[in-house]
């Protein structure tokens, strides 16, 4: 068989078949000068291949017989753990009411922090100084969902799903929400409640903004929480995720 390689590259040596004692060339295999050895497959290769096949069969059997959890089972277990942590944390939250917020009013350090939070997450919709834009104005006394400190804190916490105001309780810490409320107060629109009209913390079941998760809300098992704060009210359900919190002034949400 003619090899046209030689015409292109006359300097090339011919294929050398001496490799080792065990390598046997298949002499009738010669494709354009390429030859092949009759070597066996490496043992590690063969056995790993067998092992993956065995493993594959075993996996299918184990998952179909329930020894390996499926999607829904893993998810339920994972969510249960998270929800337990959430309810534990909810138990240690402090009860933020009008009096509590009023007492902190004007705290420069908190306001400075609140301003940073505002510029991070609020300013895109409510604009600098609370002038409003995509979201409502926060610098006048015209409030849709109530304009007391407690109202503002509450709406920040649970959001207004119908109007696409996010529930920042899912995102911000309680301190951050307190501080941003105090910062919003500096815009000048905040209303002082007429009398001692602290929001009732009755746990009525307006479950609209509960997360889609399975399982019961944080109310489920308040045991296991860390020691309550001095100001903490263990009955509070201002928990971030699932607070079926009090909508005292309006029915804040609807599907």
């Amino acid at each position: 068989m003619t090899d046209e390689r030689t015409s292109l590259d006359p300097d090339r040596e011919d294929i050398v078949l001496t490799q080792g004692d065990t390598d046997q060339p298949l002499l009738d295999h010669n494709y354009d000068g390429i030859q092949e050895y009759d070597n066996p497959m490496p043992a590690w290769w063969t056995w790993l291949f067998v092992a993956t096949v065995v493993w594959a069969g075993a996996y299918v059997i184990l998952i179909e017989t329930g020894f390996i959890p499926k999607y829904e089972q893993s998810l339920a277990a994972g969510l249960a753990e998270i929800h337990e942590r959430q309810s534990a944390a909810a138990a240690s939250l402090i009860d933020v009411d009008q009096a509590f917020l009023a007492a902190l009013s004007g705290d420069a350090e908190r306001i400075a922090d609140g301003q940073a939070v505002y510029n991070r997450v609020c300013v895109a919709c409510h604009a600098a100084g609370g002038a409003g834009g995509i979201g409502a104005a926060l610098n006048d006394s015209d409030w849709i969902h109530g304009g007391t400190l407690a109202d503002i804190y509450h709406i920040t916490d649970v959001g207004v799903p119908a109007q696409a105001m996010p529930a920042w309780g899912n995102v911000l810490s309680q301190d951050e929400m307190i501080n941003v409320t105090l910062y919003i107060e500096t815009f000048g629109g905040v209303i002082t409640p007429p009398a001692e009209d602290a929001p009732a913390d009755a746990a009525d079941a307006a479950t609209e903004d509960a997360p889609p998760a399975t399982g019961d809300g944080p109310q489920g098992g308040p045991e296991g929480g860390d020691g309550a704060d001095p100001q903490a009210d263990p009955d509070s359900d201002d928990a971030e995720e699932a607070d079926e919190a009090e909508p005292p002034e309006e029915e804040s949400a609807e599907g």
């Binding site: 092949e36 490496p42 299918v60 999607y71 829904e72 959430q86 696409a164 899912n170 889609p212 995720e241």
Partner: protein, 743 residues
Amino acid sequence: MSAEHDGAAGAVEHVKYNDAVVRAFVLATLIWGIVGMLVGVIIALQMVVPEANLGQYLTFGRLRPLHTNAVIFAFAGNAIFAAIYHSTQRLVKTRMYSDGMGWFHFWGWQGIIVSAAITLPMGLTQTKEYAELEWPIAIAIAVVWVVFAINFFMTLKHRREKHLYVAIWFYIATIVTVAVLHIVNNLVLPVGLFKSYPIYSGVQDAMIQWWYGHNAVAFFLTTPFLGLMYYYLPKAANRPVFSYRLSIVHFWSLVFIYIWAGPHHLHYTSVPEWAATLGMVFSLMLWMPSWGGMVNGLLTLRGAWHKLRTDPVLKFFVVGITFYGMATFEGPMLSIKSVNALSHYTDWTIGHVHAAALGWNGFMAFGMMYWLVPRLWKTKLYSMKLANVHFWMGTVGILVYALAMYSSGISQGLMWRAFDETGRLVYPGSEGFVETMMAIVPMYWLRLVGGLLYFASVLIGGYNFVMTLRSAPKELPDPEVKVRKPLWRQKAQREDMSGVKGWARHRLLEGWPLVFTVLTTIAILIGSVLGIAPLFLMKSAIPQIESVQPYTPLELHGRDLYIREGCVSCHSQQVRPLRAEVERYGEYHKPGEGVYEFPFLWGSKRTGPDLGRVGGQYNHLWHVRHMEDPRSTTPRSLMPPYPWLLRQEMNLRTLETRLRVLSRLGVPYDTETIENAEAIAREQARQIAEEIVDQGGPQGLEDREIVALVAYLQRLGTDIAPRAPEAPAEEAGDDTPGEEDSQ
């Protein structure tokens, strides 16, 4: 082809090979490689600098498919055609069957690439990854491929070498399987010349697409390159192939197993879990068949390793094969569900595919070109030194790129799933998502550096090749070899295999190209049919959900705009049943939610957050402002702006036809809706525009594209009322009210 036909056994024939067409394919490989990688560098920049999205036709969403198509089908495609045309002629000692078909193949393919480069920036796309090209181009691809196949198989028919070498086996698998994949995944109903809907929706569309997508990787980027390796590596090393038996076993196991593995792209989606399980276990079984190629490649070099010091061809091949080994270990690993839960939608996948594409496909192609170019142009390589620079710069580029993407992918994946001790996501909401993005921006810059290094190395290689061509002789006649007239063609000389035992019996098959091809086809069809058919035959696979309704005409138009803009490149629409995702995005997606999704838009990467449940989460005005200037609503966002959506008027001319086509595909639009599609759409648009004004937004958007897009986004994921607490119990189980058809 001139033959001295004297009929006598052992007479010598003169065979001239058609190398002109090979030279053309080699040049096309180089040119499209540079183009495709340049686009890659541009979109890498766009990911960190939103201002680099230069207007409507050059956004990331439109350029990304251009990049993938150019690199896969133009660069790698032309490279494998060069390899097949060059090596097949020599391996069967026969000129390609038809020069005309060869040139039709060449020019047809280049025409397809050019039309891709025009239509993709125009937003004409089917959106399915690596199958974006609209139906007229898809038909052209099928035609060119069939011509290629005829040319190839007729060459085999007229071969002078009785037995087919392993490289040819891989070429056969490539040609057959790509044809099957391409045709099945492109079954669409057209709406005019530039738009179509696939005949599958939701879960079924996803399964077909990733059966295609995964096996495009297998049979366009793996098997032909293995074939190429089996020819050029022993040639360059001047060594015999390590093990013929290994060739046989790894070829058949690879071809049979690969085809099943597609659903590992759909772990934790609403594709039934048994399908994902199959995809996973077959991916793991694929590990050794893939490594068979690596082992045979690297062990062929025994006794030739010293040549690596001087021979750039072997350097490229060794690094290319090593990256192949890495990628084919990583692939099975990523297919394990729990690993995939972390890696999917992140840059880990991007790192994986680029290690494979730049390392394996790129370096095998360049190694082959360094071997081919001096031989095809009958001259010496211009500069050995530059070839070495190309090699080292490229290698460093791949490593930088891959490491950047691995660390970015793993970090972001971990950040997405991180919970603090109070059971809250550490990075919740869109604010938190941006935070996770900011953490990986340095890695994006590093990726750009890696990409630039590789791109620059290719430019150096290109310069080296061009300078080499300049020293080529003017006349490049077809090379001519003398071949003894094959005796085995004569009846009396049929080989007697009766005494042959063991592996050697495979030899028999190698003498029957037709039987070989049929068996290969059966091997790939088994997994294709058994892996996918149950989804079409079992009604329980996709339980129907009563509340899931077709899109309104305006929402449908918005969806088509979403497709046009390539939003799916960066946004998934598939919340996985993982606790971090359910907490972040809401209820995970159910199979029944996708029944009107023609095509499915689940996506494969979350450069931005998932949008599957975005409906109702923001008001209309937020979306308007966000599309106009993403950073006005989401500071530090890296999304490109889409201001033209607020300027351009909706084109509803084909809306009625679109509804009609969809109703033919099983979407229950009634005649009244279809006939009044435009009016219904305009009415909904008017309402939304009014609401935007109420929210303090600009006037006069009722006829603009943005309104349709807002309508679509506000609809997304709302059909099953994700916030309703009873949802999980109802729809998750198999015992859902799934009586009715799911098409």
